[in-house]
Amino acid sequence: MMRPDQLIDNLVADLRPVRRAPSPARALAIWLAVTVPSLALVIWLMGLRPTLPLRPAFLLDQALALSTAVIAAYGAVCAGRPDQPTWKLALPVVMMMLWLAVMVGQCALMTIGGKPGVLALHIDFACVPAMALAGFIPSITMVLLLRLSPIFRTNHACLCGALAATAAAEFALRLFHAEGSFLTLLVWQMGSVIVLTISGSVIGKWVLARLPGGMRIWPIPT
């Protein structure tokens, strides 16, 4: 440990002008500006489903997926800012739980209501790569945004960033990918969201750590 005045001298001598990082709201706007056209392109390339089930349950699911994506993206860019309140970081988790609870609730209601075929589980491998494809550009954009400045809560930022990308991808997926039974949707699509969020978080942290300059605060050499 060095003397405080010596440390201050070293830090002052090392000072260089910095370009201010975008505010969380601006960073979110940048992410949306890239994500929305990329998802539109994927939907266009894959082809919009001919018959969209525009029932209230579907619209509610889509609204929750979209809200989770936006709130998680905001949570990711806020996580690296030391002066952001903790509730902003907890919000993506709450949204994800709400989304999952609504989906499970819908499945339970349909089962109790005796709707046929609700609990039929089919294999739907196609939705995993489709979701990974749709989430690719949003993920890359998020990594680049998180790279703009050193970040503090790295794990939280990566987890929220991955959740944002997969929730956005799930939103797009349901517009171009035909659904099977509700249980298939719950297991395969929501399962893919969870698996891709966790793996995306791990990969994102790994990528961030290996880019030049690292990802975390690190004392300057003295």
Binding site: L15, P17, R20, F152
Partner: protein, 200 residues
């Protein structure tokens, strides 16, 4: 929302000097005088806040947290968004770095053994001339000063802070292989600088 939390929040806002905002904005533009003024004003304030937040910590640990906060502020100058108050920004950095320091202390404590119960004449405490020389901090510091900046950084991460290879890699952006080779070479150079002859 608890009354005590509100009290803390109000205190932070009250403590925040308006000139700190001007100093930090100027520091972002590279003004060294404003930066020095900000850091000088911030040190006693951070020390007070750290003591209030972690009353059980020793003076040395508090000083460690304050210095870590200054380092972190230095690397995060671009994150400040004017005209937001500076105090919550600094306090936020201190909370996060303080938590890191505390975690590190706990990790180290788990690897340490208490030798208080050993008699001073115990052979377990015996050292020889080479070990004493190696433990001579002054000589070590002098030898460290002769090393390159990169060697010092690597030794600081791997030996002083006892980071794992993964942690050091995440912190510095260097690959694990580079860190391994770098540590080996830095130790070799340090030993040479301290006059220790390695067997061929």
């Amino acid at each position: 929302m608890s009354a005590s939390w509100l009290g803390v929040k109000r205190k932070i806002v009250a403590d925040d000097q308006t000139e700190w905002v001007a100093w930090l904005i100027a520091a972002q533009q590279g003004d060294r005088r404003a930066y020095a003024a900000l850091l000088t004003a911030a040190v006693p304030w951070l020390r007070r806040r750290a003591r209030g937040r972690w009353p059980q910590m020793s003076g040395a640990d508090i000083e460690d947290i304050v210095q870590e906060t200054l380092f972190a502020l230095h690397r995060s100058l671009d994150l400040y968004q004017p005209p937001r108050p500076v105090a919550p920004f600094l306090f936020g950095i201190m909370k996060l770095r303080g938590a890191d320091v505390r975690r590190q202390r706990v990790r180290h404590a788990m690897r340490e053994a208490n030798l208080d119960d050993l008699p001073v004449t115990s052979p377990a405490m015996a050292t020889n001339a080479i070990q004493e020389a190696a433990l001579d901090h002054a000589a070590m510091r002098e030898a460290m000063a002769t090393l390159s900046q990169r060697d010092r950084e690597i030794l600081d991460m791997m030996k002083m802070r006892e980071m794992s290879l993964q942690e050091a890699s995440a912190h510095s952006g260097l690959s694990i292989a580079t860190l391994k080779v770098g540590t080996f070479r830095a130790i070799k150079r340090l030993r040479r600088a301290m006059g220790v002859d390695d067997a061929p």
